[in-house]
């Protein structure tokens, strides 16, 4: 017999995905527009790309752990809403990242 699941844990998973993905996008934008930020990432983590990886994945794991603990037995919106927000976000992020580098190439 399977037990009915709350939406708290899926909400925590989607929230972690959203935070990780949007933080990555923010870091990419900051790196393109601020060379001091990019060199700061490079000097802290050895390479700017590694800095983006480490920060966004640490944020993903941290949000997942914290939100999972606090939302575990709660119902936070339905899964459909979280899926829709995540899907739109990822599509938007791909467009934003691609657009940024196309713009940057022609603006240089």
């Amino acid at each position: 017999m399977t037990k009915e699941k709350t939406t708290g844990v899926p909400a925590a998973i989607f929230l972690a995905l959203l935070v990780g993905a949007w933080l990555l996008t923010t870091l990419i934008y900051f790196s393109v527009f601020s060379s001091s930020f990019k060199s700061g990432l490079a000097s802290t983590f050895g390479h700017h790309w590694l800095g983006k990886v480490i920060l966004s994945y640490v944020a993903f794991a941290a949000v997942l752990l914290i939100a999972r603990t606090s939302l575990k037995n709660k119902n936070v919106r339905n899964v459909k809403t979280w899926t829709l927000i995540s899907a739109i976000s990822i599509i938007l992020i791909v467009i934003l990242i691609s657009g940024l580098f196309v713009w940057h190439y022609f603006a240089e």
């Binding site: 399977t2 037990k3 009915e4 699941k5 844990v9 899926p10 998973i13 989607f14 972690a16 995905l17 990780g20 993905a21 990555l24 990419i28 050895g46 390479h47 790309w49 590694l50 983006k52 990886v53 966004s56 994945y57 993903f60 997942l64 339905n78 899964v79 459909k80 979280w82 899926t83 995540s86 899907a87 990822i90 599509i91 992020i93 791909v94 990242i97 691609s98 580098f101 196309v102 940057h104 190439y105 240089e108």
Partner: protein
């Protein structure tokens, strides 16, 4: 064959496994009828998530940081510098979304587990993530193939 080439080939090979594994996982999800199907779905998606972590981060890091700069110089000095400035920049960044999406899908599948058999919304939700992961992997593979053709890693 140099070590950089081996890394680059392994990165691409794992990318192919992701592209093959995701439709398999989707097929398992669509045809989900019993507990053995749930077990197969868990194994396939976990395998794809491990491939994504290995290909997009563990293998991509040394390939991109240590061995790619030589190919980058070759591309930038050639007639198509946009292959690095646009295509590679897009690839090296959106590729980082793949493991995030796959890890999320795996966590959801392992959380719902047997409940997937009766919860249609949960199955659809996971399906959306897997379709996005597949499209991203496909885009990554295309970009990788074109970049490697312009400036191969040696």
């Amino acid at each position: 064959m140099g070590f950089g080439e081996i890394l680059s080939l392994s990165h691409g090979f794992l990318g192919i496994l992701i592209i093959v594994g995701l439709p398999w996982a989707l097929a398992e999800l669509v045809a989900l009828k019993d507990l053995s199907g749930v077990k197969r779905l868990k194994i396939v998606t976990l395998g794809v998530a491990i491939c994504a972590l290995l290909s997009c981060i563990i293998l991509a890091a040394p390939t991109y940081i240590v061995y790619y700069p030589e190919a980058k110089a070759e591309i930038k000095a050639g007639p198509t510098p946009w292959v690095h400035e646009i295509l590679m920049e897009i690839k090296e960044h959106i590729g980082l979304l793949e493991p995030l999406i796959m890890l999320s899908a795996v966590f959801l599948i392992w959380y719902y587990s047997d409940n997937l058999l009766k919860e249609k919304d949960s199955r659809r939700s996971i399906m959306v993530l897997l379709v996005i992961a597949f499209l991203l992997a496909f885009l990554e593979m295309g970009l990788g193939a074109y970049i490697a053709k312009t400036g191969p890693i040696r």
